[in-house]
Amino acid sequence: MMLSVNREQKLNISFIALLFILPAVALSMDEPFYITLMTKVVILAMAGVGLNLALGLGGLISFGHAAFFGIGGYAAGILATHYMNDELLFSAFGYEYFGTDNMLAIWFAAMFVGAIAAIIIGYFSLRTKGVYFIMITLAFAQMIYYFAIAWPTYGGEDGLSIYVRNNLFDLNTLDPIIFYGICLSLLLLVTFLVSTLRNSHFGSALQAARQNEQRLASVGIRPFGIQLTAFVISAMATALAGALFADLNRFVSPDMLSWHTSGEIMIFVILGGVGRLFGPILGAAMFIVFEYYLGGITEHWGLFLGIALLAVVLFARGGIVGVIAGEVKHD
């Protein structure tokens, strides 16, 4: 039993090392494009790490995490646009707010708005179970998606451009390697927090709720509160990823909110290995590498991606981590 756990840890450590080494190699070879590609991996991985908390540990199959990803993106886009144009965002008690280009403030705003949305969506969705939960989370995400398309103030269907990447301290965030460093630090921080949560009392209760709600309730813990908390934290991580994604592309559009995005985030998690700490990170990396290399060879890369995904579901249960490190062992 110790061996397989060690194997997963070894895999995780070597993968972290790769996340540091590969960009350094790209930097030395003066290939900024690959750094940007890896930044995309790191950001999408963070969205997946967020979803994995709800889906992997909590068993809450949310088909609507694009909502939080997009909300984070729009939070970044809206704050930055107001700041650039010096437009009033809101005024309260005589205080007028014109947005900001400070990344720290934007991240907190993204997580805050994401959390509010998750409290509302989670509160109603968690009353349902199973396939109804999958569908109601999808419905809420679709609501926000169509709202973003129909509401013209922030670009509607065309989306919203962020003209200059936002600022963090005195760093030159436009330098690809520096922005990569920021994103990687946040990913490692979020992953560390999720790992801490997983090993805490809260994490045990969450996993117990997944396995048997009645049993958890019978020892005096209400599953609803635990699940809602997990759902909200999960949404906050995904919203933070959304804000970074907006900054990476300097563009936000309703695409970030579409059900295909929800599907893709879910793919990262399942491809990598549901409930595995590094599963979503490996899954996102695989997905982007696949998209990039196959996309270079054929425009019909989706076909091959589909076949590969199908093969993973049918034959490689437990995702990449499951195949390399073996099944999760229980005491």
Binding site: A139, F140, I149, W259
Partner: protein, 307 residues
């Protein structure tokens, strides 16, 4: 706003609902009998539309195209079931979602490869091209009336099939106790393939019928699939009756919402704001409806086999 326009929109809503019913009937049946979430159902809608456009293009007959859509979609359904879906019945919903999402990618790209990215066009048959006068009150598209008619025929047919035939009896038995009917000697694998092909054929017909009103293109199944899910969740997963009620509800609420809400908002806001608010609200009306129904009845309106 005139009364004529109101009735016209109401009929449009019912027509949309009937089309949604054709889509959702198979989806809800497959979930009820096999316990499978099938995201690839929209693919069968697309396959039906392409088969119809292709055959109608070659032979010049819409009706042959319609028959082709039925056959090709049923065959594609049977093929998917035997090749992939069959392995998923015992898996959890997560695996089913991912595998059928993969099927969407495969079928969409394969269709794009075969037919290119440009939409195909499918004309309404000549006999249904002229509007028809309803009670001397309004002129209404006879093709849309035909879609409503097909929807009603299919609903009656499905009702008879499920309640009066041996196959229907087996389907109902499969919904309530899988192990038991297998133990009684019913060939459950063939039954599942049949049910899946039946749902596929209905989706294919829906695609062909709507293909003549909209354009036939890759990805046309996506939005319809999501709506069909909204329908079966509202109606209660596994219930055909629920799917019928849900489909009509979604069709009418969506169509009437787009028509009435921007108008109603003018009583509350300035014209420009009213257009924005009305437009935004009407595009999310059905999702509000669905969330509202699930909050009051977490398992949908009609208790189906899926719950």
């Amino acid at each position: 706003m005139t009364l004529t326009l109101f009735f016209e929109q109401l009929l449009n809503g019912i027509q949309f609902g009937m089309m949604l019913f054709l889509m959702s009937a198979g989806l809800t049946l497959v979930f009820g009998v096999m316990g499978l979430i099938n995201l690839a159902h929209g693919v069968l809608y697309m396959v039906g539309a392409f088969a119809c456009a292709l055959v109608a293009g070659i032979t010049g007959s819409f009706w042959l195209g319609l028959v082709a859509s039925l056959i090709v979609a049923a065959m594609a359904g049977a093929l998917i079931e035997v090749g992939v879906i069959r392995r998923l019945y015992k898996r959890d919903h997560l695996d089913q979602v991912l595998a059928t999402y993969a099927l969407i990618l495969i079928f969409s790209e394969a269709t794009r490869w075969l037919f290119g990215s440009f939409p195909l066009y499918l004309d309404v048959p000549d006999i249904l091209a002229q509007p028809i006068s309803l009670f001397g009150l309004l002129d209404y598209s006879s093709y849309r009336l035909f879609i409503i008619f097909v929807g009603i025929i299919v609903a009656i047919g499905l009702y008879l099939l499920i309640t009066k035939t041996r196959l229907g009896m087996r389907i109902r038995a499969g919904e309530s106790d899988r192990e038991m009917i297998a133990a009684l000697g019913v060939d459950i694998r063939t039954l599942y393939t049949l049910v899946f092909a039946l749902g596929a054929a209905l989706a294919g017909i829906a695609g062909a019928l709507l293909g003549a009103v909209q354009s036939v293109e890759v990805g046309m199944g996506g939005p319809v699939l999501i709506l069909a899910f909204v329908v079966i969740v509202i109606g209660g997963i596994g219930s055909i009756k629920g799917a019928f009620i849900g489909a009509l509800l979604v069709g009418v609420v969506d169509t009437m919402g787009r028509f009435l809400l921007p108008y109603l908002m003018t009583f509350l806001f300035s014209p420009e704001t009213a257009a924005n608010v009305g437009g935004a609200l009407s595009s999310i009306a059905i999702y509000i409806l669905m969330a509202g129904i699930l909050i009051v009845k977490p398992k949908g309106l009609i208790k189906g086999a899926g719950s």
